[in-house]
Amino acid sequence: MASWDIMHGSRAVAEAVRLADVDVIAAYPITPQTHIVEDTAKMVADGDIRAEYVKVESEHSAMSVVIAASGTGARTFTATASQGLALMWEMLFVASGMRLPVVMVNANRALSAPISIWNDQQDSIASRDVGWIQLYVETNQEALDTTLMAYRIAEDAGVQLPVMVCMDGFVLTHTVEPVEVPDEEQVSKFLPKFKPQQYLDPKDPMALGPIAFPNVYTELRAMQQQAMDGAMSVIEKVNDEFSAVFNRSYGNGLVEEFKTEDAEVIIVTLGSVAGTIKDVIDERGDSKVGLLRIKSFRPLPEDEIRRALKGAKVVGVIEKDVSIGLGKGALASEVRDVMYGSGDSKILSFIAGLGGRDITLDSVRGVIDTCEKALSEDVETVHWVDLKTE
């Protein structure tokens, strides 16, 4: 039976790993992901997860281990954050290039220097081009559910790509809230045993990870993009099937719309701050402002974004990252790219919540005020929210 419990976001992820019946876990602890490592290690030690738990000396090794294990057809899991993700970086390309359905949870955290252990999303945003599917979650429940869905998406015959589940460090990992833990039997129906498309087998040998000469490299990269394009409908399908079994879904799996229908102003964001924004939108009591939460940042659902933002006169993108040198948030620049040639909505970039800066109700109210002002007058395109100027 499914059961309600109250738990940290990290625990919710560990429950998903247990339910997904993974074969190999390799992870290196780093704040704020540590409890995921501890909880899954204990579950393995207690026999609640029947998996090989490989203790490694770095995140680079953790990713290398799950790549190798996945190559043999094992269902694998790892988790990291910030500096750990950075240390994994070259292996992230290897996992996606080899088309291995590795699932990883990234507990989003700021990068050094200066040292910060606190939440923002610069780590995964800076890894947007590594060829991984990236799904951003809003709640602990969604972290659990998305980790389960991630295996279905990654292992789909037409996809075969690694998935990064991005959850805000501390804001979700260290928050306790009610979570419904699904029933084991239902999960095994939704997520049956992994049947790999191709894997290392001494009886039927193959070479994994050989050199590609210029005559095939471009084609292999194009195949990754095709798989990403195909992943879009798979993510939607998996979200629908999840909903049919567990009675929960997250928008259409790619994006979640909140009061966007008649909105003149639409806020766009990733991750847990969506909850705070929804509360601020609701307290207004009008239908002028809506929210588009992008769950799937990779693949970026361009059609969905265009459709959702079509009627908006002003779009305000709130994000916890900045592309230094570009001078705005990465998501804001991508939303502009998506909207190019369709309508004349103003697209504003709001850089907020860096290095753990609290995004308060007033921060969000301020963003909405600026967007409303932009309906009738010119405003700056880029805003650093709550920036101290002296």
Partner: protein, 90 residues
């Protein structure tokens, strides 16, 4: 050409289809009279290009010129100076 997802090669042993002998500028020539049959050239060759032929008690060493890149390691390692590198004539 059929390209598998992930660039996986299903057709094993296909490396031998790529003949690397053309990369060579010098070729090893073995003087069997000086050879003491120690097998160092066979051990050290990075391209597995030393061919050993056994006849009775006698082992004879020769070079597979389809794959020898002419690196000269065999000549360098040979304890009896039985291998000379000579310029490839083009």
């Amino acid at each position: 050409m059929k390209i598998s997802p992930g660039g996986v090669i299903r057709d094993m042993g296909s490396t031998v289809n790529t003949k690397t002998g053309g990369w060579r500028s010098e070729r090893p020539v073995i003087d069997n009279d000086k050879c003491i049959e120690c097998g160092s050239c066979w051990i050290f060759c990075p391209d597995s290009s030393i061919i050993v032929t056994t006849s009775g008690n006698r082992r004879t060493y020769s070079v597979n010129l389809d794959f020898c890149k002419g690196c000269g390691i065999c000549a360098n390692e040979c304890p009896s100076a039985a291998i000379k590198m000579i310029l490839e004539e083009k």
